[in-house]
Every structure is written in structure tokens, then in C-alpha cells.
């Protein structure tokens, strides 16, 4: 287990090789995190079924230390957005994201979560969860097969491997601002867009008037 961790530059005496490892802080920090990513247990749509299949025996998520699905966002490291994000649901998703402690990651599973998918033109559909929360890995497919999801998760592990404890933003002094929660009005309102909505060009007004 220690092979991957050893820093090759520093020789370890043979008699100790089986019991100690010399490594860098970043490596051990990331190794610990990448091997125990706990996803949040929540499914949105069809893709969630494949997510469950990935957790089941044949594909076995626990090989990657990820089988501990947490129902509470407070205990989760990874949000797998597994399905279509609707306008009615996005306030909840943003709130859940805000409730997750740092470090946190988001994986957009499937066409819907990545960009709206087959339902993009729907009036109640958000064309991709990245309109509201930052996404780390996109997994294409409709639904992505379990193999594809595993590939996405391995990609996330690679991303984690590259992070450095000195640079990550969750150890900085300043607080990380929460994402403003969208509001359900006559249509979905993103609080960051107030100014834009007030100054909408007349094209929009025209089309609304005739409807």
C-alpha cells in the first residue's frame, strides 16, 4: 500500500522498507482524500439508477473507497448531480451545495446535468447545473454507463491528486462566499441577475406580450 506514496528521492533502509514510508505532505493529504470520497446520497432522475447500479456488486464503487453514501450534505465530499435539474429543484440543490463542507466536489452525471440533455428546451429545465454551481467533472451519456461514471470518478481522483495543500482555497483566511439561492418567481430568478432582468431588452417584452 505504501508504494504509491513513497517519495523516490529519499532512500529507505531495506530493513525498514516494509513499515515506513517517506512522502510529501501533499501526497499523503491527497491520497487520504482521494481514497475516501463520500458521495452524497441523492438522486435526481434516470441517471440516479445507473449511479445505484454503479454502487452495486457488479461495478462496486467500494473499490475506490466511495461506497459510503451520506444522506446528509454535512458529511459528504462529492455531489453527484445525477439527472435533470429543474427550476423547481435548483434552489434545493444550491442550498445542499452550500451546506456541504469544504473541500467539496461536483460531478455532473449525464447529458441533463451537464447541459440540459434531451429536455433542454423544456420550460422547467435548467440547461446544466453549472449555471449555478461549479462543476469539477462532466460525465457524458444518457445515462452514462456505470463504467463511464467510474471513469468520471477516477478523473476526479486525478484532479484531487494535483491539488496542493498550500494553495487550496479552503485553508485561506477569507471565507468562501455561499452561492445565492435562486428564487421561484414568475420564472426562476437568479439573485446575481437582478440588474440584467430589470434592463431586459424589448425583444423579451414583445414575446411575453403576445404570449
Amino acid at each position: 500500500m505504501t508504494e504509491g506514496l513513497n517519495n523516490p528521492d529519499i532512500p529507505i533502509p531495506d530493513e525498514l522498507a516494509g513499515s515506513i514510508a517517506i512522502t510529501t505532505l501533499d501526497k499523503i493529504y491527497n491520497w487520504g482524500r482521494r481514497s475516501s470520497i463520500w458521495p452524497m446520497m441523492f438522486g435526481l432522475a434516470c441517471c440516479a439508477i445507473e449511479m445505484i447500479a454503479t454502487a452495486a456488486s457488479r461495478y462496486d464503487l467500494s473499490r475506490f473507497g466511495m461506497e459510503v453514501m451520506r444522506p446528509s450534505p454535512r458529511q459528504a465530499d462529492l455531489m453527484i448531480v445525477s439527472g435533470t435539474v429543474t427550476k423547481k429543484m435548483i434552489p434545493v440543490i444550491v442550498r445542499l451545495y452550500n451546506q456541504m463542507p469544504e473541500p467539496k466536489y461536483v460531478l455532473a452525471m449525464g447529458a441533463c446535468a451537464s447541459g440540459g440533455g434531451p429536455f433542454k428546451e423544456g420550460y422547467n429545465v435548467v440547461a446544466g447545473v453549472d449555471k449555478f454551481i461549479p462543476v469539477d467533472v462532466y460525465t457524458p451519456g444518457c445515462p452514462p454507463t456505470p463504467q463511464a461514471l467510474l471513469h468520471g470518478l477516477i478523473t476526479l481522483q486525478k484532479k484531487i491528486d494535483k491539488q496542493s495543500i498550500l494553495k487550496v482555497n479552503w485553508y485561506r483566511k477569507e471565507a468562501i462566499p455561499a452561492i445565492p439561492i435562486p428564487i421561484l418567481g414568475p420564472d426562476l430568478i437568479d439573485p446575481r441577475d437582478y440588474e440584467k432582468i430589470r434592463n431586459l431588452p424589448p425583444v423579451q417584452e414583445e414575446s411575453t406580450a403576445e404570449a
Binding site: 435526481l44 457488479r58 434545493v92 429536455f119 423544456g122 422547467n124 414568475p186
Partner: protein, 588 residues
């Protein structure tokens, strides 16, 4: 097509036999390829009561609206059945489009509750006398009624697909670049978000609130507070994004109110822009655990409009796929019922193991594990690959019966399972019918109603199988019904793999753009979750004018509040698990 014209004449006799006060009032719907009766708005409640009590049409399956925009009218379409079997009695009311108002049928058929709310939400048809006519899929305060033909979504491009910029012109652009703000939103004229106050989202009606806080009926009882607890939409037991608001007195549920729409993906609006064949993959995503049987329902509806039938071999392949799907769905449902009871994931793992083997067959045949998109109008997309029939034979004759028995031994007599399930969430026979429950929920309450028997479609009348029925209407019986239905499906599959003939798989040429004559059709199938219906209205154009889905998961939830009242809060999870909803279909 010829069939379509025959039906009303036959039904006319039943109306003739009715109390003659309806003779002059009710008229035959004589539009070409339409069926049923037109009932004047004033007589609707009388008529509905009369067909229920005098003619035995006790089961109101589907309620939906159609917006006949060019004719300036709206129509509400009702499909009623007898639980003893047989075809539909279709009746309609027509109302002016500016002021669509219809009396609510909730006093006659309580099962119309959610469907009327849906018609109000999406089409703006007002049902007078409905006790709680609020939006159900969208949120309160949303602007407009989206299924009206003159309502345009923010990402609107053209009325009909294929959009010109994709085909034949091919100058593809992204719609985000064309709309203001680049987002899928639109606001009323001069809307200012900061001056706007949100609409009150009340879940419980006022009168219920006033009762809160006091439980002392005769003064001597202990005073306890009632509290409102919210489950979901992000809750592992809700099988997706579904929310229940429960009013509790201690551990006991006083009232429970389901709230849905968190996965409302606008199937119907998109479906009315799509061409007929484009809707096939969308049906996969309704009840996404049983995509093959959704395909069948839609194919049947459109085939009846087109007046075609698939060849023999295709019928067999369809039945084979649909029954395999039923096994998948029931296995999944049983596994996750146990999950809900607290046996976390181990039983589900056993169930998923077998499911994977069936998905392998789907993947080999249709190319996809879950979203099969396999059926076509008058056929299927491709023939079975070599050797797959052998795999199916091995599976249904050897492995699955053994594995089902194994699951049965582990679970059915399990003491914990029995004590958590027996007598919990009871739905009486009368209520099950009144609330239009379908599928295993209906059959566990003692109603022997299975569309495959009651109104056979495809080639089901050739197969031997029993309609499983149990009589206690509790969670345990619903579980037993599912378990037994898996065995019955295996029985059908034995016969299918024995008898399947060689031959063609497609009637006529497989066309990308099918010609569907004008008219209406209702195709219904017995899905694993219950009766799935597709109501399709064609006006002869390449796109359906109306495309409505009667979703069993949605309508079965009408009875949820009733089943949960008086139970403990922990049982709510089990009861919901026993109804077996799939949110893709509930919210559509």
C-alpha cells in the same frame, strides 16, 4: 382506423339503456376517427354519477384537457372503465377557450383530484368545486399555463421539429446565443425582481392550521403539540425528488400531503413539438426502470391511429421484452422496499444482481442498458442478435426461478418484514377503485384488474397466466403481489421462448417520418407500476397535436395521504416504497 369508427356505435347501446334523461342531451362525438360522447357542462356530474352507478363504469382512469386553439375551445377528456373488464367509455366536455371552467368530478371519482390539478396547472382549465385547485407540477406563482398552444417556452425556436436550422438547412446555432440573457427564463413585462414579493406557498389548508397545538379532545387528555415535518425533496427514502409534508401528533401521522413536480421535465410540451417517432426515446425516460413497456404503450396508441399491426415475430419479441422489464421493475421495487424498511442495501444487491443479467439482454438487443428505444410503429428497431434467445431461455427457465425462490425464502417469512408490513398502509377495495389506483396497488386491495386480461392488447390473450390478487390492501400484500407477478411473468416468458416464430419484424417500410391520419387514440398497457396510458390526438400533421400520458405513479399517489393517516411516521417510508413510484413518470 376502421375499429375506431365501430366502437361508438356499440357503446351507444349502453347509453341507450341508460336513464333516458340523457338521450337528448348527450351526443355522439362524430368527428372523424374520434370516439365517445360529448356531454354538456351542466350535466357532467349527473352523467358521471349515472355511468358509475347505473352502467358500472366505476373506474375513472384518465382525465386530461386538449387545447383546440384554432377552434377557440378547450376540451376535457375522460376515460372510464369497468373494473370487471372491457373497453373504455370516453366522454368529453367542450368549453370556450377564454373562460374554461368545468365542474370538478372529485365528488364522484376522488381519483380525479391530481389529474384535475394538473389540467389546471398546465392548461388553465378551472375545475369548480375542487377543494384545493392549486398548481401541482409547477410552483404557485409561475407565469402562464404552459401546455396552451399559444404559450411559448423561453427556448422556443419553432412550432414544430425538425427545426429548420438543423435540417434541411443545417446552419446550426445554439439557442442560448439567441435569447436575452442566454438563459431559459422569461419574465412578464416590466418585471422588477426587487419590488416583487413571492406568492405564499401554503401546503396545508388554513382550517388544518387552526387545529394545531391541541390534542385534548375531552379536556382530560394530555396536551401535545402537533408538528409539521417535511420529508424531501432530497431524502433517501423518497426514491428521487419527491416531497411529503406530514403533520404529526407525536409519532402518528395526522395528515400527509405529497408535493411533486421537482422532476417535471415537460414531456408533453416537448412531445407536441416532436415528430411522432422522436417521442419514442422520450417515453423511455418516463418510468426509466421499465423503458420497454413504455415504448409499447406509445407504439400501441400510434399504431391504432395508423391502423397497422406488427408482424407475429415482433409481437412475441415485444411481449418478451415487456415481461423481462416487469421482472426488472418488480425486483428493483422489492429490493428498495427492503431498503426503506431499514435492511439497507443487502436485499437490493441481490435484486440488482439479477437485474444486471436482464439488462445485458437489453444491451445486446437494443444497444442500451436502460433507455432501450427499441420499439417502432409497426415493428421494432432490429431483430434479436444471434444467440440471445438461448441466453433468455437459460435465464427464464433455470436461473431466475431459482433466484426468485431464494429471495422468497429470505424475505417472505422474515419476521421483521412481516411485522413492519402486515396491516400497515391499508387501502380498502372501495377506496382503491375510487382513487383510481392501478397495478399492484389495486390488485393488492382485492380488485382483480389487469389490463392484460381486462382489455387485452398485443397478443396477451394467447398466453396462460394468472392475475395475481390479494385482499388485505396492506404493504405486505403489495409486496406479495409483486413477488407472485414475477413468477407469472416467468410463466409467460416460458411460453414466449417456446413459441416464438421466425419471420419479418416490421410491417411496411420503417419510416423516419410516419403518416398518422387525423383522429384520437388512447393506448394503454399494464406497466409494472400500473396502467400506463397514452392519449394522442393527431391533426394529420407530422407532429401530434396533443400528447398526454396517464402516469400510474402519479395517480397512485392520490391515495397516499389516505393510506398514511393514522400510521406511524416511520411507516410512511414503507408505504411510499410499497406504492413504488418512479419520479420520471410522476412528474413527467
Amino acid at each position: 382506423m376502421t375499429e375506431n369508427v365501430e366502437v361508438p356505435k356499440e357503446l351507444d347501446a349502453t347509453i341507450q339503456s341508460m336513464d333516458n334523461r340523457f338521450h337528448d342531451i348527450v351526443t355522439l362525438d362524430d368527428r372523424k376517427s374520434y370516439t365517445g360522447y360529448l356531454v354538456p357542462v351542466e350535466n357532467l356530474i349527473d352523467f358521471a354519477t349515472s355511468i358509475r352507478d347505473d352502467l358500472g363504469y366505476d373506474y375513472l382512469s384518465s382525465v386530461t384537457g386538449v387545447d383546440y386553439f384554432p377552434e377557440e375551445k378547450m376540451e376535457v377528456v375522460y376515460h372510464a372503465y369497468k373494473t370487471s373488464g372491457g373497453g373504455a367509455l370516453v366522454f368529453k366536455v367542450q368549453i370556450p377557450r377564454e373562460k374554461p371552467e368545468v365542474p370538478s368530478l372529485i365528488s364522484v371519482f376522488p381519483g380525479s383530484d391530481f389529474q384535475e390539478r394538473e389540467a389546471w396547472d398546465l392548461l388553465g382549465i378551472r375545475f369548480s368545486g375542487h377543494p384545493n385547485l392549486t398548481r401541482i407540477l409547477m410552483w404557485e406563482g409561475f407565469e402562464g399555463h404552459p401546455l396552451r398552444k399559444d404559450w411559448k417556452e423561453p427556448f422556443f425556436e419553432e412550432e414544430k421539429k425538425p427545426y429548420k436550422n438543423r435540417w434541411p438547412e443545417g446552419g446550426v446555432y445554439r439557442i442560448e446565443d439567441e435569447v436575452p440573457m442566454g438563459k431559459n427564463v422569461k419574465y412578464p413585462l416590466g418585471f422588477d425582481p426587487q419590488k416583487w414579493t413571492p406568492e405564499e406557498q401554503t401546503t396545508f389548508k388554513e382550517d388544518m392550521d387552526s387545529e394545531a397545538g391541541d390534542n385534548g379532545s375531552n379536556g382530560s387528555a394530555m396536551h401535545t403539540d402537533q408538528i409539521v415535518v417535511n420529508l424531501g425533496p432530497q431524502h433517501p427514502s423518497t426514491h428521487g425528488v419527491f416531497r411529503m409534508v406530514a403533520r404529526l401528533d407525536g409519532e402518528t401521522v395526522v395528515d400527509l400531503y405529497p408535493e411533486m413536480g421537482y422532476l417535471h421535465r415537460n414531456h408533453e410540451k416537448i412531445g407536441e413539438r416532436n415528430t411522432y417517432i422522436m417521442n419514442m426515446p422520450y417515453t423511455d425516460r418516463l418510468d426509466y426502470i421499465s423503458s420497454m413497456s413504455n415504448n409499447l404503450g406509445y407504439a400501441l396508441a400510434v399504431e391504432s391511429l395508423m391502423g397497422i399491426k406488427p408482424p407475429e415475430r415482433t409481437e412475441y419479441i415485444r411481449v418478451m421484452m415487456v415481461e423481462l422489464t416487469r421482472i426488472v421493475s418488480h425486483l428493483w421495487s422489492i429490493g428498495f422496499l427492503l431498503n426503506d424498511l431499514g435492511a439497507f442495501f443487502t436485499p437490493a444487491l441481490y435484486a440488482i444482481n439479477e437485474r444486471e443479467l436482464i439488462l445485458d439482454i437489453f444491451e445486446a438487443t437494443a444497444g442500451s442498458r436502460m433507455m432501450c428505444n427499441y420499439l417502432r410503429f409497426g415493428g421494432i428497431s432490429r431483430d434479436l442478435p444471434d444467440g440471445i434467445l438461448e441466453t433468455v431461455r437459460e435465464l427464464v427457465n433455470e436461473r431466475l426461478p431459482r433466484k426468485i425462490d431464494e429471495l422468497d425464502t429470505y424475505l417472505t417469512e422474515n419476521e421483521i418484514l412481516r411485522s413492519r408490513c402486515i396491516g400497515v398502509g391499508v387501502l380498502s377495495k372501495e377506496d382503491a377503485i375510487a382513487y383510481s389506483a392501478a397495478g399492484p396497488v389495486l390488485r393488492a386491495s382485492g380488485v382483480s384488474y389487469d389490463v392484460r386480461r381486462a382489455d387485452p392488447y398485443s397478443i396477451y390473450e394467447r398466453f396462460e397466466f394468472d392475475v395475481v390478487v390479494r385482499y388485505n390492501g396492506d404493504v405486505y400484500d403489495r409486496y406479495l403481489v409483486r413477488m407472485e407477478e414475477i413468477r407469472q411473468s416467468l410463466r409467460i416468458l416460458h411460453q414466449v421462448v417456446r413459441d416464438i416464430p421466425e419471420g419479418e419484424i416490421q410491417t411496411g417500410k420503417a419510416l423516419y417520418q410516419v403518416r398518422v391520419p387525423a383522429g384520437e387514440a388512447y393506448g394503454r398497457v399494464e406497466n409494472p407500476k400500473g396502467e400506463l396510458g397514452f392519449y394522442v390526438v393527431s391533426n394529420g400533421k407530422p407532429n401530434p397535436w396533443r400528447y398526454h400520458i396517464r402516469a400510474p405513479s402519479f395517480i397512485n399517489l392520490t391515495a397516499l395521504g389516505k393510506m398514511c393517516k393514522g400510521e406511524k411516521v416511520a411507516d410512511v417510508v414503507a408505504i411510499l416504497g410499497s406504492i413504488d413510484i418512479v419520479l420520471g413518470e410522476t412528474d413527467r
